[in-house]
């Protein structure tokens, strides 16, 4: 039933034409298709298989500078025509936006690398079961105290297309493979917090044994947790912890809509030093093999590489077409439609592959230079940070004590608090163990002088 590239583009072109015929000044059709197959682990055993197939079309129509939107997942001509009509009606019912300056023009797209792997499409359910079994068994063989709460191995195919009134007619497709395992360890009187490990790639290069081994090792090392005294520590943020911290603070603060709407503490600070000299960040929409790499963004602009911070100096914000035109600059290709069904969404500004330039120390070297510190893997409550000021107050679990250059026992229930901008100013080193989680591509990051509230 899946439509091919030509059928998809022709359906999108049809949608744009119908919207124009209904009186739209300009129109845009976005199509996406996903197909996902997974094997799930629950409570220590393979317990389920999952398959998803969904596709749909979202149409934006503009009438007298008012934007309307309608979508459908019934991808037949008649439903698409009705949807185009609805998009125009919704624009007519809406109010004009004086800042609306049209959809993007046709752009030249850059080729991206390592975002599609035919091997992922060919994975059979037996092979997925085999990968999940290898991951699970490796974890269980590590230590009797390990309990696997859940896990998954999945393969995903996704395709998107975008057509608008200005001859933009783009298509791209990609694949994803991932495996992940959540574990905890139980002793006579103690249950550890949930620990997890994962591997996600655009090509079929995942390592289920490594994930199983690491998930089990983390859980066991989280046993024997102790409280720590309240004081400032050197903190090493592993990738997930840093991603949680930045997703609700810095990443929003560099989005042009937050800046234009006075919701960003970085407004007016382009060219200013906002972080330590060790911090250089690019939003790299075309990163080779990046989990968020595509040829074009979700309104058809070409993806690119944008310097956000260089040696601690703020260089640029992230733009979509609307916010860029409002300011008279060019979009950085950061329009994004997320969620389980992106065709239901209108684009919003989002980071692509938000990459911290790695340092040249190994993770071990980074830790070996610390006299008294904490290694944090996960933060609880990061979403309750103040998104405007960047103030946060979160629980660091699981986390581990670092003493005289070595990782020691786990830390019980400590809170970290401060502002994300102080964290950035106090970055003293970055390791070279780069990996991606969500938008963030980063190594372990060492930060001095973080307030830790123990017991």
């Amino acid at each position: 039933m899946a439509l091919d590239r030509e059928e998809i583009l022709s359906l999108c072109e049809k949608a744009v034409k119908v919207a124009e015929r209904h009186g739209a000044d300009e129109a845009e059709a976005y199509f996406c298709q996903t197909s996902r197959t997974a094997v799930g682990i629950e409570r220590g055993q393979l317990a389920k298989s999952v398959s998803h197939i969904d596709q749909g079309l979202g149409i934006r129509a503009v009438y007298n500078k008012a934007v309307g939107f309608a979508y459908t997942n019934i991808v037949a001509e008649k439903a698409v025509e009705e949807t185009a009509g609805k998009a125009v009606n919704s624009a007519k019912a809406s109010q004009p936006d004086k800042d609306w300056k049209g959809f993007p023009d046709k752009r030249c797209l850059i080729n991206v690398e390592e975002t599609f792997d035919g091997k992922i499409l060919e994975l059979s359910s037996e092979e997925l079961v085999n990968l999940a079994t290898r991951m699970l068994d490796t974890a269980l063989e590590m230590d009797k105290r390990v309990f696997v709460t859940d896990g998954e191995v999945e393969s995903v195919y996704a395709a998107k297309a975008l057509v608008n009134s200005y001859d933009v007619s783009n298509f791209d497709q990609g694949t994803f493979a991932s495996c992940g395992l959540a574990t905890l360890a139980r002793d006579v009187n103690y249950v550890t917090p949930v620990c997890f490990e994962w591997d996600a790639k655009r090509t079929f290069e995942i390592n289920p044994e490594h994930v199983g081994r690491e998930a089990a090792r983390l859980a066991v090392s989280a046993l024997k947790a102790e409280t720590v005294p309240t004081k400032p520590y050197t903190v090493v943020f592993a990738q997930v912890a840093m991603q949680l911290l930045l997703s609700y603070t810095l990443i929003n603060a560099v989005k042009a809509d937050y800046v234009q709407r006075e919701q960003s503490a970085l407004k007016g600070k382009i060219g200013e030093r906002i972080a330590s000299e060790n911090v250089t960040v690019f939003d790299d929409g075309i990163l080779k093999g990046g989990l968020r790499t595509w040829r074009f963004d979700d309104e058809g602009m070409e993806r690119r590489r944008t310097a956000v911070m260089e040696k601690g100096v703020l260089k640029s914000f992230l733009y979509d077409n609307y916010r860029a035109k409002k300011e008279g600059v060019e979009s950085t290709g950061n329009a994004y439609r997320g969620g389980a069904a992106p065709y239901m969404e209108v684009p919003a500004i989002e980071a692509t592959n938000f990459r911290f330039a790695p340092g040249n120390k190994s993770a071990d070297e980074l830790v070996s230079e610390i006299d008294s510190g904490i290694l944090v893997y996960f933060l609880q409550g990061a979403h309750s940070s103040n998104p405007v000021s960047g103030e946060f107050s979160v629980v660091a679990v699981p986390s581990w004590r670092i003493e005289k250059g070595e990782i020691k026992n786990a830390v019980k229930g400590a809170m970290l608090s401060g502002t994300v901008f102080d964290v950035l100013k106090n970055v003293s080193a970055l390791a070279n163990n780069e990996r991606q989680v969500g938008a963030l591509v980063a190594p372990w990051i060492r930060v001095e002088n973080v307030k830790v509230i123990g017991r």
């Binding site: 039933m1 094997v39 799930g40 409570r43 055993q45 393979l46 317990a47 389920k48 298989s49 999952v50 398959s51 998803h52 197939i53 969904d54 749909g56 934007v67 309307g68 939107f69 309608a70 979508y71 459908t72 997942n73 439903a79 919704s90 624009a91 019912a93 809406s94 109010q95 800042d99 359910s125 037996e126 079961v129 079994t133 309990f147 709460t149 905890l184 249950v191 949930v194 309240t230 709407r261 006075e262 919701q263 069904a341 239901m344 609880q380 409550g381 979403h383 309750s384 940070s385 103040n386 000021s389 103030e391 107050s393 979160v394 629980v395 679990v397 229930g413 809170m415 608090s417 509230i453």
Partner: protein
């Protein structure tokens, strides 16, 4: 619809499944986002889709298809059975389901003001009105975002045991975010409105009432201090009690998470809280955001007692976990839509009120905090919780004092529940959305309570 779905059920049984269910849905959504008075895009949409779940050799197979196409559904049920059987070769303990009554029913929603018949222009007008009132409250208000969503539709549930339920879905939701700025101080406030009754929810939660609540909260934070870090006595308001009961305790009592190793596993029937703590999860409150008649396994929603006078007496169950615990399913299973698997979710979760007035709760606190409104909360299976607070005040010598911003509390749920020493006689229920890999609409709440010792995170 029933006839077509019955054929797919039969195909599943022929392919070797011991249990087959289908949840077909027609959904209509209206969504809009207004930022600082400008409509970003008014959105309307239509979706058809079906979720098929089979149990074969004691292993689940789930398939979601964004279509009602018969050929596609037939392929999906066959694929689900084939994949479940492939997975089952490694199964150690086969999954079984608790018995339930079967139902044939049709549930129709009867809104006084039907969102589907309310013109888009009126929904836009509502957002505009909230926006204008937020901005006109104080010139230090710098931004306002109003999101509006309604979902209408029909859910067709069928299984091979003889249950067939057609159930209307109706949700109306709005979220308002406002920021305020003075000098270098930024403040942020949020609020949600949600109902399963109809568009009439905005007759009680009027633009005037809602905008004032949120604008006042944002502006008051500008003059607020940050809290001291450390252990303090606190009085917690219904809005924060709700999120605490939901996040810190509720998730541990979802039987799938209990089995996954939550700290509650060996505490069932035991005392985990002080005598004054009683907690319910109730799916039967008329019009509340977490209410419905049948869950997504065809089990009627009910009022489930979780903690009675400090003792854990119940968990929230699916048919699968009920079988493991030799308990009865509680009607807690939901899926966000046909794209998702049905899992155990909370409904309207709350602490039951008792006898204290607000003044009595405060009176013997020499220094502490009053936590009025939350910003977010999260918990781990080991019982560690964190709740961020957007509106808080100092308590000084039994009286409410200066406002406090960016506070948060954390601790171990079971230790904290034991330190609840007084429970108020008031009661409020607040709508919200809960994420567990997918979104569920819920309510949570309770009365004001006093907790003797809580760890406050703070910048000082």
């Amino acid at each position: 619809m029933k006839e077509n779905l019955t054929k797919i059920i039969e195909l599943g049984l022929e392919a070797g499944a011991e249990y087959v269910e289908i949840r077909a849905q027609k959904l209509f959504r209206t969504m809009l986002t207004m930022k600082d008075g400008v409509i970003e895009a008014a959105k309307e949409g239509l979706e058809n889709g079906a979720a098929i779940r089979v149990l074969a050799n004691g292993t689940w197979g789930f398939a979601s298809v964004g279509s009602f196409n018969k050929t596609q559904l037939a392929e999906a049920v066959e694929k689900a059975c084939k994949m479940a059987k492939a997975t089952s070769r490694k199964v150690k303990v086969p999954i079984k389901l608790a018995e339930t009554k079967t139902f044939e029913d049709k549930v129709t929603s009867k809104p006084r003001k039907n969102p589907a018949e309310t013109p888009l222009a009126e929904k836009i007008q509502l957002a505009s009105s909230i926006n204008e009132r937020v901005f006109s409250y104080d010139q230090r208000i710098k931004s306002c975002t109003v999101d509006y969503l309604d979902i209408m539709g029909t859910n067709y549930f069928i299984n091979n045991e003889g249950t067939y339920i057609e159930q209307d879905k109706l949700y109306v939701w709005s979220r308002i975010l406002a920021t305020a700025k003075e000098g270098e101080i930024y403040a942020f406030a949020r609020e949600e409105i949600g109902s399963t009754a109809g568009f009439e929810v905005f007759e009680t939660e009027t633009p005037q009432i809602v905008s004032e609540r949120i604008a006042k909260r944002a502006v008051e934070q500008l003059k607020a201090k940050t809290p001291k870090g450390g252990i303090f006595p606190v009085v917690i308001g219904p809005n924060v009690v709700g999120v605490f009961v939901h996040e810190a305790f509720g998730h541990l009592a979802e039987a799938d998470l209990t089995l996954s190793g939550s700290v509650l596993m060996d505490k069932i029937g035991k005392k985990v809280a002080s005598d004054v703590v009683t907690v319910y999860d109730d799916g039967t409150i008329d019009g509340a955001f977490g209410s419905f008649k049948y869950d997504d396994e065809g089990v009627p929603a009910q009022k489930t007692l979780l903690i009675e006078n400090g003792r854990v007496v119940g968990l929230m169950h699916s048919r699968e976990t009920a079988h493991k615990f030799e308990a009865a399913p509680t009607g807690n299973v939901r899926a966000e839509d046909f794209r998702y698997e049905p899992i155990i979710r909370m409904r309207n979760t709350y602490m039951a009120p008792r006898d204290h007035s607000f003044e009595e709760l405060l009176e013997d606190i020499r220094f502490g905090y009053y936590l009025k409104s939350f910003r977010g909360g999260q918990a781990n299976l080991d019982g560690t919780f964190q709740v961020g607070i957007q509106e808080a005040y100092e308590i000084v010598n039994g009286e409410i004092g200066a406002p406090v911003r960016n506070a948060s509390i954390s601790g171990n749920t079971l230790e904290t529940l034991k330190k609840v020493d007084a429970v108020g006689k008031d009661f409020e229920l607040w709508p919200g959305r809960c994420g567990k890999g997918q979104i569920a609409f819920i309510c949570d709440g309770g009365p004001h309570i006093r907790v003797r010792e809580v760890l406050m995170g703070g910048a000082r």
